[in-house]
Symmetry: C3
Amino acid sequence: MKQLSHYTRTFALALVLGVLGSLGPASVMAQAPAAQKSKVVFQVSDGESRKWELALNNVRNVIKDLGKDNIEVEIVAYGPGIDMFKFESPVASRIDEVIKMGAHVVICENTMRAQKITKSDMLDNLGYVEAGVTQLIRRQQQGYAYIRP
Amino acid sequence: MKQLSHYTRTFALALVLGVLGSLGPASVMAQAPAAQKSKVVFQVSDGESRKWELALNNVRNVIKDLGKDNIEVEIVAYGPGIDMFKFESPVASRIDEVIKMGAHVVICENTMRAQKITKSDMLDNLGYVEAGVTQLIRRQQQGYAYIRP
Amino acid sequence: MKQLSHYTRTFALALVLGVLGSLGPASVMAQAPAAQKSKVVFQVSDGESRKWELALNNVRNVIKDLGKDNIEVEIVAYGPGIDMFKFESPVASRIDEVIKMGAHVVICENTMRAQKITKSDMLDNLGYVEAGVTQLIRRQQQGYAYIRP
């Protein structure tokens, strides 16, 4: 009986540990949004330069407000929006500034093909994806907030 | 003691199976975004035809990029955006094309009432909802990514 | 043996309860979106008054459609969009109407500083945040749907 009682305690302990263990992932998931780094994707699809200024203000404000280490920022440019990142862009120095602050920029290659331009027509330090719109969907699925300035 | 040891093994096995079983749903939830079909809702609320062209390019690109069977696409039109789907729409043939590619279109009946128009003023093969904006909220709650071209 | 069989039943019951208990949180999480109040955040960042009208129509329609008690509505204004909520706003009476319907309005203080204006230049019954764009990210992380009219 004493022997049995030993097993009883062992089983009970194992059960408790097992249940705690099985609760773990769910709890972690529930807390994750608060504990993880914030993530945001900005869409730039307009050709007007005042929209580009607003997008750059947004990116700078959010990095300043939350702190570089607490926010992941990606800018996805497609359609008329890719003009913002061409070599002759009127906001080139400000783009350089937000990239130095930690923002990533991703350009739509579908749009580049339609406009018959290549990477040599674009600013430096940019990333590229097949379809900008697919990237926006993927990022939202990965928990990024979406902002269209 | 041998008998007891049989129960020990039985309990241990049951415990492991139970814990695995209880881990199951959490793991499935964590993997769900990757395993499930991607879903995206496009908002068309502008009256300019170049925005309509951009929206149609977006829809076509995402279906081509991910493959018809891997993406659920819904276009929700409201406000000035419903002009895109009127009988005399300049982009009618392109709308037909994306519907054939698998996209669904949903029109806001609140807007139709405000404009005093009926379904007979609209293109074929469209769906209708009471309020376009509520549909956009509902779809996001159902896990759809949101794109406003 | 009978004694043992008692423990067997006890363990089996504990195991079942444990597993059910551990399944609980995951099930609750899965059902939560349907059971909770809907939440939506509207972005107002454009300076054109027809966009303001559209935003106000959107807010009114969604509250009417879902019912005041079933939807949490927040409007976040920043950049050129804060003009909508200035004292001399052409849509002041309509803003008053949606606030009475239960909508909350939040203004970006970064924008106010850039425009060198104070709360005395703004309408009554508004809330304020440091950065409008951060508020939009926060709300999406909290499960709010995002609409940019």
